[in-house]
């Protein structure tokens, strides 16, 4: 295989347009702005797990969804999402990351809102009434919010299809795990990553990279069975399920043992599978623990990734600590795997950002077995649907 000169390096690969990505899909500011407007503001995105709002009037703020948002569990037990801004002069209402509030009073002019987003108090209201601005016209902007299996999603588009229609059966492989016993989030951390948001999503869809991880090499992940018998299931609307495999944790005594009795409902302790929900959420499990990633574009070159770890709510203190150790071994900020994945995403971003890399190749076809690139092609097919262009030629917008 000879090296290439500039002409052959920059020439598009001799592949179908669905099987490669032009570098500018990761770097171009116009494409980035279009992604935010046409994908992020119109599709269903993960907000939080219900356990993060366990009691009535609990709230949780979300600062990176294009607009500041706040999710509140109401007196009727329903979780609602609002723009986290006062309808009077635009001040941010909730500044704490989480808390409990039956009503919220804006610090600026003391307008007060209840858990339904209604404006229930305006100091010295007569001047507003004289101007024909009634309290009914001063409520918060509510954002569509729907849940499935305890996972709470929001959509900034009032006209979007329902979440149930959008997600279809894509979460079915997690249904038993998430609903048979109460689960809760025990781990949260976020990281600003120097990479385009799609590059982090790709790392969770590209199983061809598994050789990169020392702990996957040490836990015998890459066998004939795991390479060729795992299946990639493609769902409508860009969702994917990477079928399970068994991980051999037995080889190394110092890896936290995985007892079958601690497996989450519906799973074996050694089980692994994952489900990316288009556009920016990935659920995965390692038998005894679950992880949810949410990726938010900040700039073409930077992304905010939120990482959650989930276990059983009714764990004993001792069982919870075992679960935490199992989570942290592969997925925490000091784990074996997560820093490697983030390093890889940032290194790829460097290649594209500098103009060094011209194209990304996603052409592997292996009957949708584990290392087939079909998952990534499915993601980009959905991306193309929303963007009206192919990722391989993203400056050409279809009529």
């Amino acid at each position: 295989m000879p090296s290439r000169n500039r002409e052959t390096w920059e020439r598009p690969p001799d592949l179908p347009g669905t099987h490669f990505i032009d570098a500018i899909a990761y770097t171009d500011p116009e494409i980035f702005a279009a992604e935010k407007a046409q994908i992020m503001e119109r599709t269903w995105r993960f907000g939080c797990h219900e356990s993060e709002l366990p009691t009535v009037f609990d709230f949780r703020t979300i600062d990176h969804a294009a607009v500041p948002l706040v999710m509140i569990r109401g007196e009727d037990d329903r979780i609602r999402t609002f723009y986290n801004v006062c309808s009077h002069r635009g001040a941010k209402l909730f500044n704490d990351l989480s808390g409990n509030a039956k009503t919220k009073t804006c610090f600026f002019h003391h307008w007060t809102y209840d858990w339904k987003g209604d404006c229930v108090s305006r100091p010295r209201p007569k001047a507003f009434e004289d101007a024909h601005l009634s309290a009914e016209d001063c409520g918060l902007r509510e954002v569509r919010t729907e849940s499935q299996h305890g996972l709470v999603f929001f959509n900034l588009d009032d006209d979007a299809m329902s979440f149930a229609d959008y997600v279809g059966d894509a979460l079915s492989s997690f249904e038993q795990t998430l609903t048979e016993e109460p689960v809760e989030v025990f781990h949260y951390h976020q990281a600003v990553v120097q990479a385009n948001w799609k590059q982090w999503i790709e790392s969770n869809m590209d199983h061809y990279h598994e050789w990169m991880h020392v702990m996957l090499r040490r836990t015998n992940v890459l066998t004939e069975e795991t390479l060729f018998k795992r299946h990639v299931e493609l769902y409508p609307n860009g969702h994917i399920m990477f079928e399970g495999m068994r991980i051999d944790y037995e080889d190394k005594a110092t890896i936290v043992p995985r007892e079958e009795s601690k497996a989450l409902p519906g799973l074996a302790a050694s089980h692994y599978h994952s489900t990316p929900i288009f556009p920016n959420t990935v659920l995965m499990t390692r038998g005894t623990v679950m992880r949810i990633d949410t990726t938010t574009p900040l700039t073409p070159d930077t992304s905010l990734v939120e990482f959650r770890g989930l276990g059983l709510k009714n764990d004993s203190e001792e069982d919870r600590m075992v679960r935490i150790r199992q989570h942290n071994e592969f997925w925490g900020p000091f784990s074996h795997n997560l820093p490697e994945d983030l390093f890889a995403a940032e290194q790829c971003a460097t290649g594209y950002r500098t103009g060094g890399a011209a194209y990304g190749i996603i052409c592997r076809e292996e009957n949708l077995s584990a290392q087939d690139d079909g998952g990534m092609r499915h993601f980009y097919a959905e991306w193309s649907k929303w963007m009206g262009r192919l990722a391989s030629n993203p400056k050409y917008i279809a009529a």
Partner: protein, 173 residues
């Protein structure tokens, strides 16, 4: 701990420590040497300063969840395994961490011969190109055995204020 630094006159604290066989200066010197071993990535040197029952953990408080979190727990065997795997872990080779430790409290611990020591710690990360930035800020909450011939770390909790670590770290703080 008996309380924040300053509640007990320094002379009394020093005397109580000295009766256990180590002065506050000894303890500061010991912590500086342990920190230096970590900075030099001299893992064997660091482990030699730890008791066999040593427990290391990294913790943080989540304002998002309103909960304490544990981000890493290892006993001696776990740390040895972590250090064994380190050369194979993928990451930016040549990145250095420099830990700046400032002891804020030394007080007798709950067990005989143990001292509870709290320190502020900031960690500066320097890239192979020589660019430095602040990586984390937090505290070391240590238990040190001062009853033997040499001081030994019994337990270290690295309590982080910083919770966005970018890609994270394979190296303990």
């Amino acid at each position: 701990m008996d309380g924040p630094a300053g509640e007990q006159p320094e002379i009394h604290r020093r005397l109580r420590t000295q009766t256990l066989g180590a002065s506050n200066e000894d303890i500061r010197d010991f912590l500086n040497k342990a920190t230096d071993a970590l900075d030099r990535e001299a893992w064997e040197d660091f482990l030699s300063m730890c008791a066999p029952e040593f427990e290391y953990r990294i913790t943080a408080f989540s304002y998002e969840l309103n909960k304490d979190m544990v981000w890493l727990v290892h006993d001696m065997d776990g740390l040895k395994y972590l250090f064994e795997v380190l050369p194979e872990q993928l990451g930016r080779k040549g990145t250095r961490l420099l830990r700046q430790v400032s002891v804020t409290d030394i007080a007798p611990g709950s067990a005989n011969g143990h001292m509870d020591v709290t320190s502020k710690v900031i960690v500066i990360r320097t890239s192979p190109e020589g660019v430095s930035d602040l990586f984390v800020a937090g505290r070391y909450i240590d238990i040190i055995d001062v009853g033997g011939n040499t001081l030994k770390l019994i337990k270290r909790e690295t309590r982080l204020e910083t919770r966005d670590l970018g890609p994270g770290s394979h190296v303990p703080i």
